[in-house]
């Protein structure tokens, strides 16, 4: 396993940012999800060695997160969320400079910088100063600097934020190419759930500093079945009885009732309860849950 963390605790003063997070992640692309303040960025910063956990331990690519941060940073690429660059440098110098700082020999870093910029599609503008780049170009440049030293693991923090649809598709294509066709693990932290669904097979969901769910997306979706219902009659008792049976209910604006049932739930129960409460079931369909449903279920929001 390239990412293993165990019982990580971290506080910002009195605020608990991470509260006993343990992860053991497989190869491939992994999505890191959570609402604002869930602890995603703190977790990435701890894994990179920017922050030292108050409690807990972990290893990234076999390097200890508390004592071997330099080893981690040599073999890990990091694409930060914010705009970040070194002014007055052109893109080639910028990328090669960061390659050199990773420990690459100077000539090799320059050669590799050209390759990385070609790869992300900045070959035409690689001699332009980075401060003249558009938002989309800066995102690509950040990806180029993250891969210039050929890392074994890449942390991508909101890689598609601020991009237009075409730019977003292109960045996602690059991420998928890196993670699927090469032996490079990618951890993507994002608010955009369709991006995660498209690029990742495995997901980690954090909520209030704790691990809310982790696993393969396809398997997590199977844990709870989703049914779509339309009913007529006195619904209050019907709802109460479903909730007593650990079902989670969600009503849409067009009167559709979404019911997430717990594992092993027998769908005959719907008809039994409806009969008991004199409620007519006018529409009953077993539906496919999405990552959005899974996320909402894990963090407890509609």
């Amino acid at each position: 396993m390239s990412i293993e963390v165990n019982d990580i605790h971290f506080n910002y003063g009195k605020i608990k940012a991470l509260d006993g997070v343990s992860l053991d992640l497989p190869q491939g692309a992994i999505g890191l999800l959570g609402p604002n303040g869930a602890g995603k960025s703190t977790l990435i910063r701890i894994m990179l060695g920017f922050l030292s956990p108050d409690r807990g331990e972990g290893r990234i690519l076999g390097y200890d997160i508390k004592t071997q941060q330099e080893g981690i940073r040599r073999h890990v690429g990091y694409m930060p969320e914010d705009d970040c660059f070194i002014p007055e440098l052109d893109a080639v110098s910028f990328t090669s400079y960061l390659g050199e700082l990773s420990g690459m020999p100077r000539q090799e870093a320059m050669k590799r910088a050209h390759e990385a910029l070609y790869y992300v599609g900045l070959e035409e503008s690689r001699y332009r100063k980075v401060e003249t780049y558009s938002g989309g170009m800066k995102q690509r440049l950040k990806l180029a600097q993250a891969i210039v030293h050929d890392p074994r693991l890449i942390f991508l923090d909101e890689p598609t934020s601020g991009l237009d649809p075409q730019g977003r598709t292109e960045i996602l294509d690059l991420i998928m190419d890196i993670s699927s066709k090469k032996d490079i693990q990618v951890l993507i932290s994002s608010h955009i759930l369709p991006d995660i669904e498209l690029t990742c097979s495995y997901v980690v969901i954090l909520n209030k500093g704790q691990l809310a769910a982790q696993g393969e997306i396809s398997k997590l979706k199977e844990i709870r079945d989703l049914y779509e219902l339309k009913i007529k009659g006195e619904a209050q008792e019907f709802f109460r009885k479903l909730e007593e049976m650990k079902c989670r209910l969600e009503e849409t604006e067009d009167g559709l009732l979404k019911v997430y049932t717990p594992p092993g739930y027998n769908q005959q129960e719907f008809f039994r309860i409806a009969a008991e409460e004199n409620v007519q079931l006018r529409h009953f369909v077993k539906s496919q849950s999405t990552l959005e449903d899974l996320f909402a279920d894990a963090v407890g929001v509609d």
């Binding site: 910002y12 003063g13 930060p80 970040c84 007055e88 292109e170």
Partner: protein
């Protein structure tokens, strides 16, 4: 060529365990300083004072020729440690050094803060120490060009013009004084510049601070001295403290009648404080509580 055509390729080289991982930071810092438009004008001009003093050394060895040309009215020119002190610890060179650090140092940290670049540095296998060493070495490079290099050039040229080692044998400790003073003044200006550069994201504001605090401290000294006639107020002035210690290093009379150790303590205390603030200010991540 798009991603579909090219694809990602692995790098088949090997990482180096560099002895000086901070060197790329220094190299790029120097390179970027030379790209500044006005610096290209200032840099050669900053050596005019050294050329003037070098001419003085040449003239001192050719006084007899000048006397034959202009008569006995030509004043004698003594090349001794005081001459070196006049160049190295003089107010004009300190002013040139101040302009030099404004060009090469004001943006060293403030630009990184402004453009969120610290996280790029610290996501690399760099320690905070390497980052500071890399940035400091940029200032050291330019200030040594104004202090250490001319100091040694003066000694060597004096011996070449004289055609003997007499000067060196008369003052064998002078090279050490040049080294000690250059290190002292460079170390102080490095801490001073990096400290101020870490306080604000605007390079221009930092430049104003570098200039303002240096001259403000001298104005403050003059105001207090005029009112209280106490020489201890010279401890408030950056240039006065440097000149006090500089005079001792070159075995000359101090310009103010107070103990030079006090000036050294003021400069050292400032450097320690600056180091402490720098350590606190420069972080890989900005934590918003």
């Amino acid at each position: 060529m798009t991603i579909k055509e090219k694809g990602y390729t692995h790098w088949d080289g090997e990482f180096q365990d560099k002895k000086f991982p901070w060197w790329p930071i220094t190299r790029y810092g120097i390179k970027l300083t030379f790209r500044k438009k006005f610096f290209k004008l200032f840099f050669p001009a900053s050596f005019l004072l050294a050329v003037f003093f070098l001419a003085g050394i040449y003239i001192s060895e050719r006084l007899d020729d000048f006397k034959s040309m202009f008569g006995e009215s030509v004043p004698s020119l003594q090349i001794d440690p005081a001459y070196f002190k006049t160049y190295l610890a003089g107010g004009f060179l300190l002013f040139i050094m101040l302009i030099m650090v404004i060009f090469c140092g004001s943006g060293l940290i403030s630009d990184d803060l402004k453009h969120n670049a610290l996280q790029l540095y610290f996501s690399r296998p760099l320690k905070k120490r390497d980052y500071f060493l890399g940035k400091t070495a940029v200032i050291v490079f330019f200030l040594f060009l104004l202090t250490l290099v001319p100091g040694f050039v003066f000694i060597i040229m004096k011996m070449i013009f004289a055609g003997s080692f007499k000067f060196f044998l008369s003052y064998p400790w002078l090279p050490l004084s040049v080294i000690a003073y250059s290190v002292l003044v460079t170390a102080f200006f490095s801490f001073y510049t990096l400290f101020l550069s870490s306080l604000n994201k605007s390079r221009l504001f930092v430049a104003i601070l570098i200039f303002g605090i240096y001259f403000g401290s001298e104005i403050l000294r003059a105001i207090f001295y005029e009112n209280f006639h106490n020489h201890h107020f010279s401890l408030l002035s950056i240039s006065a403290n440097i000149q006090q210690v500089g005079a001792v290093i070159f075995n000359q009379k101090t310009p103010y009648p107070i103990h030079w150790i006090l000036s050294l303590l003021v400069l050292t205390a400032f450097c320690i404080l600056a180091g402490f603030v720098l350590k606190k200010k420069v972080k890989g991540v900005e934590i918003v509580k």
